[in-house]
C-alpha cells in the first residue's frame, strides 16, 4: 500500500531507533495527544524500540474517552425519545454512562445505528423522513470539518430531519489547559498528525514560545513516529524547543483552508466539558446560529426528562490517565475488573483509548 508500506521498513526502523538511543542521554518526558498515536505506538512496540530515557505518556487524545459522562447520558436520553434514530461512530455505543449505555438502549428497543461516515447518517435521514435522525458528533478537528460538510449538504438539500449533537472538541486549548495544570513535567509533545492536516502547525506555536516545550507533528507509521521522536530528542537535548512538522506529506503549516472555512461556516467556539479535566473555555465547537435548525441540543433538550445525577464509574482512573498523570497499569481495575468485555470506563472501550491499547498490545 503506497504511502504506508515504505514507512514500515524494519531495517530503517532499527537504525533510526539506534540513532535515537545514541542521542538520548538524559531522561525526557513526552506526551502524545492523539488516540491514533497511542494505538500506533502500542501496535508497533515503539516503547520497546526506543531507550528507557524516553518516557511516553498518553494525553486526552481519544475523542470518545474525553466525552463527559453527562454528555453521554444526554445522548442515551435522546435515544429513548419517540421517533428518534441515533447515528453514531462505533466506539461510543459500549461506553457506560451513569445508568446505561447506547448499546443497552439499543437492546431496550432504541433505534441506534453505527455509521462509518456522516454521509451515511445523512442518507439515513433521507430514507427515513418520518423520523428525526440525530448524529452524535464526537471528534476533534479531524472530524469536525466532515460534520460541517454534512450539515452544509443537509442545508443545500433542505433536509428537515437531520440533527447533530455537537460534542466536538479542540486540541490546542486542551494542550494549554494541561500545560497550565502542570501535573506532568513535559519536555515534548508528539503532535497529532491528522488534526494538524486540518489546522496546520501555527496553532501550536504557543507551546514552544510560552511554555518552552518542544512540539513535533507526527504521522502514524512506525518510521513516522520514530522520526518524530528523533526530532524531539534533538530539540530537547539542544535546548531549542520549537514546532516542527515531521509529517510533511500530510501537514502544511497553514492546514487545510477549505476545511477550516467549512468549520467556520457551521460552528462557533464554546466551552466544553472534558472527562478528567472539567470545563475548559473555548475548547469545543457548537453549531452556530446560521445552522441552528440542525442543532439537536436546541431541538430536543426540552423534551428530555430532568437530569439525573451524573455517576462516574467507581474506581475508574480514566480521568487521571487522560491527563497523563497515571498509566493504565496504575489503575487497580485495569485488566481485572475492567476489561474490553466488561469495560468500566471509556479508555478501555474505545479503539483509541490508552487502556484498550495497552490491553490489546501488551508487550512481552
Amino acid at each position: 500500500m503506497k504511502f504506508i508500506d515504505e514507512y514500515q521498513n524494519s531495517e530503517l526502523a532499527r537504525k533510526l531507533a539506534q540513532r535515537i538511543a545514541t542521542h538520548s542521554t538524559r531522561p525526557i518526558s513526552l506526551m502524545e495527544f492523539c488516540g491514533g498515536h497511542t494505538h500506533a505506538i502500542m501496535r508497533y512496540g515503539i516503547r520497546q524500540l526506543v531507550p528507557q530515557t524516553i518516557e511516553m505518556r498518553s494525553g486526552p487524545g481519544c475523542p470518545v474517552c474525553v466525552t463527559a459522562t453527562a454528555d453521554l447520558d444526554k445522548a442515551i436520553a435522546l435515544a429513548h425519545l419517540p421517533g428518534i434514530i441515533i447515528t453514531t461512530f462505533g466506539d461510543i455505543v459500549r461506553v457506560p454512562g451513569s445508568y446505561s449505555s447506547l448499546q443497552q438502549a439499543k437492546a431496550q428497543g432504541a433505534d441506534i445505528r453505527i455509521v462509518y461516515s456522516t454521509m451515511d447518517a445523512v442518507e439515513i435521514a433521507r430514507e427515513n423522513t418520518e423520523n428525526s435522525v440525530i448524529f452524535i458528533g464526537i471528534g476533534f478537528e479531524t472530524t469536525a470539518p466532515t460534520i460541517a460538510a454534512s450539515l452544509i449538504k443537509a442545508q443545500q438539500e433542505d433536509i428537515q430531519n437531520f440533527y447533530v449533537l455537537s460534542l466536538l472538541k479542540l486540541t490546542p486549548p486542551v494542550m494549554k489547559a494541561l500545560l497550565d495544570l502542570g501535573e506532568v513535567k513535559l519536555d515534548g509533545i508528539i503532535g497529532p498528525g491528522h488534526v494538524s492536516v486540518i489546522i496546520g502547525s501555527h496553532p501550536y506555536n504557543f507551546i514552544s514560545a510560552d511554555y518552552g516545550v518542544a512540539c513535533v507533528i507526527s504521522g502514524f507509521e512506525p518510521l513516522d513516529i520514530l522520526l518524530c521522536l528523533d526530532k524531539l530528542v534533538e530539540q530537547i537535548q539542544t535546548g531549542q524547543p520549537q514546532v516542527e512538522i515531521a509529517y510533511p506529506r500530510g501537514v502544511k503549516p497553514e492546514g487545510n483552508t477549505k476545511a477550516l472555512e467549512l468549520m467556520n461556516e457551521v460552528f462557533a467556539i464554546d466551552a466544553a466539558n472534558w472527562r478528567g479535566i472539567g470545563i475548559v473555555s473555548q475548547s469545543g465547537l457548537k453549531i452556530n446560529d446560521k445552522y441552528h435548525q440542525f442543532d439537536a441540543e436546541q431541538a430536543f433538550s426540552h423534551l428530555l426528562p430532568p437530569d439525573m445525577p451524573v455517576r462516574e464509574p467507581k474506581g475508574c482512573r480514566c480521568g487521571d490517565i487522560l491527563r497523563g498523570v497515571a498509566l493504565p497499569g496504575d489503575c487497580k481495575l485495569f485488566g481485572t475488573v475492567c476489561t474490553p468485555e466488561r469495560p468500566v470506563g471509556p479508555c478501555m472501550v474505545s479503539s483509541e483509548g490508552a487502556c484498550a491499547a495497552y490491553y490489546q498490545y501488551q508487550s512481552v
Partner: protein
C-alpha cells in the same frame, strides 16, 4: 474511529470521488479537498478526503530517513 489512510483518486463526479487502495474501492466526499485531481492520493477519514498527500514531500521524508539510517551506521 479510524485513522486517515492514503487512497488514490480514480475518478471524480461532482463533490465525490471513487478511490482505490490495493484493489479496495471506496466512494468518498471531496468537499474538503475540491482542488483534487485524478491520480492524486488523498487521506481518507470517515468517508471524506481530508487532505491531499504531497508526493514530493513523501519522497523527501523517505530520503531523510535513509540518510539518517546511513549515518547511524557510522556509530
Amino acid at each position: 474511529m479510524c485513522l486517515a489512510i492514503p487512497v488514490r483518486v480514480v475518478s471524480i463526479e461532482g463533490d465525490e470521488a471513487e478511490t482505490e487502495i490495493a484493489g479496495v474501492r471506496r466512494r468518498v466526499s471531496i468537499m474538503l479537498t475540491p482542488q483534487v485531481n485524478v491520480g492524486n492520493y488523498v487521506l481518507l477519514h470517515t468517508g471524506y478526503a481530508i487532505g491531499i498527500v504531497d508526493e514530493a514531500e513523501a519522497k523527501e521524508t523517505l530520503k531523510l530517513l535513509e540518510e539518517i539510517a546511513s549515518l547511524s551506521e557510522v556509530h
